[in-house]
């Protein structure tokens, strides 16, 4: 038998920890209250309840305690106590995450960064914002607007979601194709290791010596360090932005139109697609003026100087026409541009209006497979007896199918869950990934077994151990254990065999 690739790096803290004994809670609470002001530690059932889940409410767990430090010194004290008493620490921003990444650990502490909510500096000349992790995403652009600058990543939840959470998930948005993800827009991080040691990665200079631990930390879902400060890149606001809205009578054609725009050498600042179910759900709600007869609509945005936008919009219109668009409209004012976008930005709440519950997926596939994916999802709707509406960041190949279900009906959540897992497996088969921007959290642990081999997952645990030797930061999230994947494999063997069947698993 061959030796395993990495030494045993799996965490001691399992995914399903038992509820701690009462005296354990008292011991930890006492230790934390000894180093924090009284209002920084929550321990009553009523106080803990709001922290039971994040934006993915089907996964719930009451935490042992919640702490809300105000300063880096207090945060450091929390980590030192947790390290000493071996208490898992789950960092939390606004709790808008959609993968259960901030779901509490039963015997752990939720570390809320809500009070780290200050914008420390906007430097217009250097084009940076230095902010604490609890600052809301949109607040950064609002503060930078006076200087003609903005912070580019704009996840749908940007009114509420915080920079700390954006860093943890490597959040995206609708402008990633041109402006990049959180990764491309964070210049530096300051934080604390599980040992309470301050750590600085990157900074205002563009290159830092050594390995790129900054890139590694972004999207690490709270498993590596706790961020206390971020230096964000601000970019100049374009003079003008305009949206082209195109209707298609076939989703396949709409998918091909997306590829045709890129092939024409155009990088739109946003390129989004909605299917008929999605437009039908949002239109009565936002009155965006969507073509309800179309099988799918595309929204393609151009930004830049007025002349440049004029040229690019013209070029996109020609490409869309040639790709078989049945109708094309171009926004004539900023108000109209925002109205065209309003439906897309409100797709999730609209799903909530037409269905008691919805389950938002987040796979990514090569753009060319969009049509194939949509047809497959249609078949899955029949297989699972559930409806699914589709909104896509088409330019990035990032899908957000919204599976509609009713959690109060027996078996519906289980069906929605399997429906989602099927979509993600197809994403992997089509050469894509199980999560484009929402993260793995607890939600996609099983799908991680499909995408990564045991050796690759062992490498992830090796990284985890290098930052967090005791394995206390957000344990049980993002990377599945061998045992979990073996269990999932037994339930759910894909194409007759697991990846890398030659590797020892037990």
């Amino acid at each position: 038998m061959r030796r395993p690739v990495f030494d045993a790096d799996e965490p001691r803290w399992s995914e399903s920890a038992e509820v701690p004994a009462r005296d354990r809670r008292l011991t930890v609470a006492r230790a934390l209250r000894a180093v924090l002001p009284a209002d920084c530690v929550l321990s009553g059932d009523e106080e803990l309840r709001p922290y039971e889940c994040d934006g993915l409410s089907v996964f719930r767990q009451q935490p042992m305690l919640v702490v809300l430090p105000r300063t880096e010194e207090e945060l450091r004290a929390v980590l030192l106590v947790c390290r000493r008493l071996e208490v898992p620490v789950v960092a939390r921003g606004a709790g808008t995450g959609l993968s259960g990444g901030a779901m509490p650990h039963a015997s752990g502490v939720v570390l809320s960064l809500a009070r780290f909510d200050r914008i420390l500096e906007i430097n217009a000349s250097a084009r940076i914002a230095r902010v604490q992790p609890g600052v809301r995403n949109l607040a950064v652009s609002e503060a930078a607007a006076a200087y003609g600058l903005f912070y580019a990543p704009d996840p749908s939840s940007q009114i509420a979601c915080t920079i700390g959470g954006n860093v943890a998930e490597n959040a995206g948005g609708v402008h990633c194709l041109k402006y990049g993800l959180t990764l491309h827009n964070v210049l530096g991080l300051r934080g604390c290791t599980i040992d309470g040691e301050p750590i600085e990665l990157g900074g205002c200079a563009l290159d830092a010596p050594g390995l790129d631990l900054l890139a590694l930390s972004i999207g690490s879902e709270g498993l590596l360090l706790i961020v206390t400060e971020a230096i964000l890149k601000l970019v100049p606001k374009p003079e003008l932005a305009q949206v082209v809205m195109a209707s298609f009578d076939d989703v396949g054609k709409a998918g091909e139109a997306v590829a045709a725009i890129i092939a024409a050498g155009i990088i739109p600042s946003g390129l989004e697609m909605m299917d008929r179910k999605a437009t039908a759900a949002v239109e009565p709600f936002v009155k965006a003026g969507y073509d309800l007869a179309a099988a799918a609509i595309l929204l393609a945005e151009s930004d830049g100087t007025p002349d440049e936008v004029h040229e690019e919009v013209g070029a996109m219109e020609r490409v869309l026409q040639a790709a078989g668009a049945t109708a094309i409209a171009v926004s004539r004012s900023e108000a109209e541009r925002l109205r065209f976008w309003s439906g897309r930005k409100n797709a999730f709440p609209a799903a909530g209006r037409i269905s008691p519950d919805y389950y938002c997926m987040d796979g990514t596939i090569p753009r060319k497979n969009l049509g194939q994916m949509l047809k497959a999802i249609e078949q899955m709707e029949h297989k699972y007896g559930l409806q699914c509406m589709n909104v896509f960041h088409a330019g990035d190949g990032n899908l957000h199918p919204l599976i509609l279900f009713d959690a109060n009906r027996a078996g519906e959540w289980a069906r929605a869950d399997r429906f989602g897992a099927d979509i993600l497996e197809l994403c992997v088969q089509l050469g894509g990934t199980i999560t484009g921007e929402h993260g793995v959290g607890v939600e996609k642990l099983n799908s991680m077994c499909v995408q990564f081999s045991p050796a690759e997952r062992a490498a992830f645990f090796a990284v985890k151990r290098a930052f967090d030797p005791p394995g206390l930061l957000n344990p049980g999230k993002a990377i599945p254990t061998l045992a979990r994947c073996a269990e999932y494999g037994r339930m759910h063997v894909r194409r007759g065999q697991l990846p890398h069947p030659d590797l020892p698993r037990f």
């Binding site: 998930e169 790129d212 990088i267 040229e311 990514t364």
Partner: protein, 355 residues
Amino acid sequence: MDAALQDLRRRVIDAHGAKTPLRLRGAGTKDFYGERCDGTLLDMRGYCGVVDYEPSELVITARCGTSLSEVESLLARHQQFLAFEPPAFGGDPTIGGIIACGLSGPRRFQAGAVRDFVLGAVLLCAQGELLHFGGKVIKNVAGFDLARLLCGSLGILGAITEVSLKVLPLPRLEQSLRFEMAAPEALALFNRWAGQPLPISATAWWHGQAWVRLSGAPSALRAARARLGGELLEAGLAAQWWRGLRDQTHAFFSEASTLWRLSLPSTAAPLALATAGTQLIEWGGALRWCASDLSLADMRALAAAAGGTALQWRGGIAGSRFHPLAPTVLQIHRRLKARFDPHRIFNPGRLIADL
């Protein structure tokens, strides 16, 4: 499995078993870069070729030994390019070497660094396993971002065997402007312009002259030129200038006995160095090349005081080229190395003396 890859695997497995170090090398265009490292040569050029390229996906996947010229000419046929402008240093580097060294050219300031364009990578690890990280899609947050960690790792975590890179359409037009001005004025202007929606894709200052490259739609360039002024350069001369900076074929880079590469906030004041012509500024002020006889300690102190770091690029003392790491950061480096390469077979000492 491909015979060349099989061979690489066997060499790595043997080295790991025998605990004998390997020196990973592509075309050797960056042999000068990083610390000296001893080990049996592992030539990565045998495993080569573009594996996948679909222009409409904006992604190219190539094996480590593929030459930059092959990739660039293929992309150019489809009006696309590598926007981070990897330097060739007068040779023809391999894609693996470009990723491992993580160096970017003049467009880095506007378009991003190598790591910003890496979508996925395959790592041949010490035990001979091929590990796939990232993928071929632009948005991907499954698993830690190990593909980007490999950028600039100088091969100390394993051998990069394949990479997927995001590519971009070639700008429709490029034009360059030149201005006569002193360094402080140039730095102030570069930073002011960078805060405005202008199609600037590169800036540089040397010897009393500021150079600005514009890239984009003809109409956008027209509007920008009307705002910026300056002398419009003949295309051939401009291309030669930017190529000279990118590949360091410009005389400035070979004249000095010791050349420093300072990574600073773009707004940092001009460095107080004695003689004219000893400083070349790129990346809107974020990259400062200095020919200087200052001591290692003094140059590092100067860079640190300005909010950045100093790297001994050419000449100087071996064993201390890179700016030292903070203890907490260094400890994480040690733990990563110990887990990925417990017997230190991959480029030992190339990035950090005892790793």
